[in-house]
């Protein structure tokens, strides 16, 4: 009984994956490209930087980068707080 159930789940998952693979869009043609086009057209004059990736990371999505930096800050302060006692007097 459990085997039959497992086989049924396996087969239905495979069929689902195959159906999803058939209905994929062709490579290089995303459905909504307006935002990409906007970044490529306007990033140089708005953010005044040649590197569009950096202008997205630090300007258009700056709040996300602030969160990443906060994660790193929390990790470092946690490690230092836990291990400062063992590492000698400094830091």
């Amino acid at each position: 009984m459990r085997r039959a159930l497992g086989l049924f789940a396996f087969l239905s998952f495979i069929i689902f994956l195959l159906a999803a693979a058939i209905s994929l869009r062709p490579f290089g043609e995303p459905p909504h490209a307006e935002m990409d086009t906007y970044f490529i057209e306007h990033a140089q004059e708005e953010a005044s930087a040649n590197n569009v990736v950096t202008s997205v990371v630090f300007d258009y999505r700056g709040f996300d980068t602030l969160g990443e930096a906060t994660v790193l800050f929390t990790a470092v302060s946690g490690v230092l707080m836990a291990l400062r006692h063992y590492g000698g007097k400094e830091k």
Partner: protein, 155 residues
């Protein structure tokens, strides 16, 4: 632990790695990379310097380096540059771009060789994030090194 090979290689490689890390941080708005990546490269150079020396030398070298203060300075600098955008705009708005301030020159549209004096707040944020990442990673490596190099009777 530290053999002659490691010490000789470090003497040649460490300055190059440190310079390359600073280059990645400073040119974050022109070339691939940025604050996080450059800070990690710089921290790997400092980690090489840490593992190539013995404990007393490391303690003497890093006793005067304010790593925790640098880390906090990076975080506060990021928030401060972000708060600059609140002068009439939104948080983290690029107010320095196209404003003739330092790093504020306009970028010509299209293909150009890349000028260092551009980028607006991007350059400042790259520098602050780089400071923060290099201080954080270096302090983690340093504290693990100091723990592993302790004498047995010090526990």
């Amino acid at each position: 632990m530290t053999t002659t090979i490691i010490r000789t290689t470090t003497k040649i490689l460490a300055p190059l790695i440190l310079v390359f890390g600073s280059y990645i941080i400073l040119h974050g708005h022109l070339t691939p990379g940025g604050g996080f990546q450059g800070g990690a490269v710089f921290a790997s150079g400092l980690a090489l310097l840490i593992v190539a020396n013995n404990k007393e030398k490391v303690k003497e070298l890093f006793d005067k380096v304010p790593l925790s203060q640098l880390e906090s300075l990076g975080a506060l600098g990021f928030l401060g540059i972000g708060a600059l955008g609140l002068m009439g705009y939104t948080f983290l708005k690029n107010v320095i771009a196209n404003s003739d301030f330092l790093f504020g020159a306009p970028t010509p549209k299209g293909i150009n060789p890349g000028y260092l004096n551009t980028g607006g707040t991007l350059s400042y944020l790259n520098i602050f994030v780089g400071t923060k990442v290099l201080a954080g990673l270096t302090s983690i490596v340093l504290i693990f090194f100091l723990i592993l190099r302790r004498e047995r009777d010090e526990w």
